[in-house]
């Protein structure tokens, strides 16, 4: 009887260890698999050409990724520019000013916002943001466009990254010890001064991490952007130009991928670029967060 238990124990231990080890390696496996699949195109064209050329014509064998990289950056930066001030002010309010009641009540809606599928955000963008830009915002700037543009993608994405940034920054501000706040208030600082000089300064690395996490979420978001940003493979020159992002490129062309030579390899290269950029963003922000957590404990 005892032997059986010991054997079971041992078998379970090794099985669990294998699963744990494998999942730790998953990141590397993914990087390697996507790299391996994008090798055919990397072997034929130099990376600098692929990243910096602006002509995208797979049927003629031209694979310039710059329009997509620029499109992704434009949409992401617009989203972050909208989201960061709103999210930081809201997080400060929730963490420093609001009572515990409001703070508790704010959690379910934020979770809900995080849980809404990206297609639903896309539908909202199509129904609300695109017409709004077409009829109201663009005419203000003397532009007459369809509404499918960088700004539309940016607005929809901004709302999608709200929960990420708010969640992480509220948590990080919660790590700041109550005593330093009290010390600051005791020497006569106002509440806002305490926030500005004490809380924000202490929580800064964590807030940077929150923003970077939001940035990387926006960078990889596919469906919602695909639905509202216009998808024209040209370098966007303003917020009212259409943009084509890397994820949208991958999602839109899976159908014809296998019929044109090198096309599938090019799309896998797009996923590889996306993965590497997002991994770098995430690793940096997680390291910030680990450090701040450790410093406080």
């Amino acid at each position: 009887m005892r032997g059986k238990r010991a054997i079971k124990e041992k078998a379970a231990r090794y099985l669990m260890l294998a699963i744990t080890g494998l999942s730790g390696l998953l990141m590397f496996i993914m990087v390697f698999a996507l790299y391996y699949r994008s090798r055919p195109i990397l072997a034929l064209k130099p990376l600098t050409y692929l990243l910096l050329d602006t002509v995208w014509a797979p049927s003629r064998g031209e694979f310039g990724f710059l329009p997509f990289i620029a499109g992704t950056l434009w949409v992401t930066l617009v989203a972050v520019a909208i989201a960061v001030p709103l999210c930081l002010l809201t997080s400060i309010y929730l963490s420093e000013y609001a009572g515990s009641r409001i703070r508790e009540w704010s959690k379910p809606p934020i979770d809900l916002l995080a849980g809404i599928p990206s297609v639903v955000y896309g539908v909202w963008g199509l129904l609300v943001v695109v017409p709004l830009i077409k009829d109201q915002i663009a005419p203000l700037f003397g532009k007459f466009i369809t509404g499918y543009c960088v700004l539309a993608g940016g607005i929809v994405l901004a709302i999608m990254v709200f929960p990420v940034i708010i969640h992480v920054s509220v948590e990080v501000m919660g790590y700041v010890p109550q005593e330093i706040r009290e010390a600051s208030l005791a020497v006569g600082a106002t509440k806002w001064q305490t926030v500005k000089f004490v809380v924000l300064r202490k929580a800064l690395p964590g807030i940077v991490a929150a923003v970077v996490l939001g940035l990387s979420r926006a960078f990889g978001e596919t469906m919602a952007v695909l639905m509202v940003a216009g998808n024209v493979a040209r370098l966007p020159k303003s917020m009212f130009d259409p943009a084509y992002t890397l994820p949208a490129l991958i999602a839109n062309n899976y159908g014809e991928m296998l019929s044109i030579p090198l096309y599938d390899s090019a799309l896998m290269l797009a996923s590889f670029i996306l993965l590497v950029v997002v991994l770098i963003f995430n690793i940096i922000s997680r390291m910030f967060l680990v450090r701040i957590e450790r410093r406080i404990q």
């Binding site: 990889g220 639905m227 991994l279």
Partner: protein
């Protein structure tokens, strides 16, 4: 003195303004989805598969996508649970607190959490080519399972880290092995957290489109086979919106309402379950 007061009030005003903007954004989204979705809602939407000419505005519903999404998300959740439960138990029961492997695993799970779903789709597709699979329910399950695996692990891990060491020590002192402690004490103690993690992962899986676009394909019939393509709700919405016909687009709006209702139900369900099962936990 005055300028400090003014600054204080200006920033407080700005904070309340941004909180209101964010809340209004959420309400706006829900309101638009409900208002636009309700008119096209009818029983046929949820009881019929698309009939001939569905995408031209003729009869039918999205039963194919509802069934497909439930099967896909259900299968993916089961697969992810099957992998993540042992992992989380290993981290919390077998490894010492602060062990290198545990730190590394948690770190890489956090990083994986941030990987976009389209990349999981592309990676899943690569795996499928490797194993000679075509776009199918199984392919979709694998891609979505990869996507929700880190989410599930971290959600469960969070709860298990809270379990007091004394409880485990009590179990060891009665002579139980780690394996027995893991499954008879830790799992039971963490049950509310595990259930919540399952629901969160399921919700995430059912709403994701980018990871299934390559891997699960699409079909207009209700399909239960693991090796045939399967329809999913997000893609059904996407394809219906892509048609130029207002009737079909109205159905896409109704489909988004259905998806949103499913997500909200899951989210509320998770909260209720957590509260309900909290009663069985040793405090």
């Amino acid at each position: 003195m005055d300028s400090r007061k003014i600054e204080e009030n200006v920033f407080k005003g700005l904070m309340i303004f941004s909180s209101l903007v964010i809340s209004a954004g959420l309400l706006w989204i829900l309101a638009v989805i409900i208002i636009k979705g309700l008119p096209a809602m009818n029983l046929a939407m949820i009881t019929q598969a698309p009939k001939g000419g569905f995408y031209l505005g003729k009869e039918g519903g999205i039963l194919n996508a509802i069934v497909g999404s439930l099967l896909l998300a259900g299968g993916a959740t089961a697969l992810a649970l099957f992998l993540s439960l042992p992992l989380v138990l290993y981290l919390n029961v077998y490894l010492k607190k602060g062990a290198r492997l545990a730190v590394f695993t948690r770190f890489s799970l956090d990083v994986l959490w941030g990987v976009p779903s389209i990349v999981y789709g592309a990676f899943g597709f690569t795996l499928m080519l490797f194993f000679g699979l075509r776009a199918s329910l199984l392919g979709g399950i694998i891609a979505v399972a990869l996507l929700i695996f880190p989410i599930m692990c971290r959600a469960m891990d969070e709860v298990m880290q809270m379990i007091p060491q004394e409880l485990m020590n009590a179990s060891y002192s009665l002579g139980s092995t780690r394996w027995e402690t893991a499954f008879k004490v830790v799992v039971r103690q963490a049950l509310p957290g595990i259930l919540t993690a399952i629901l969160i992962a399921f919700g995430r899986g059912i709403g994701d489109a980018a990871s299934v676009i390559f891997t699960a394909g699409f079909t207009d019939s209700v399909s239960f086979s693991l090796f045939r393509p399967v329809a999913t709700l997000p893609l059904a919405i996407f394809y219906q919106l892509g048609t130029p016909f207002p009737e079909v687009q109205a159905r896409a709006h109704a489909s988004s309402l259905i998806l949103t209702i499913i997500i909200i139900t899951i989210s509320i369900g998770a909260r209720i379950l957590t509260k309900r099962f909290q009663g069985y936990v040793v405090k």
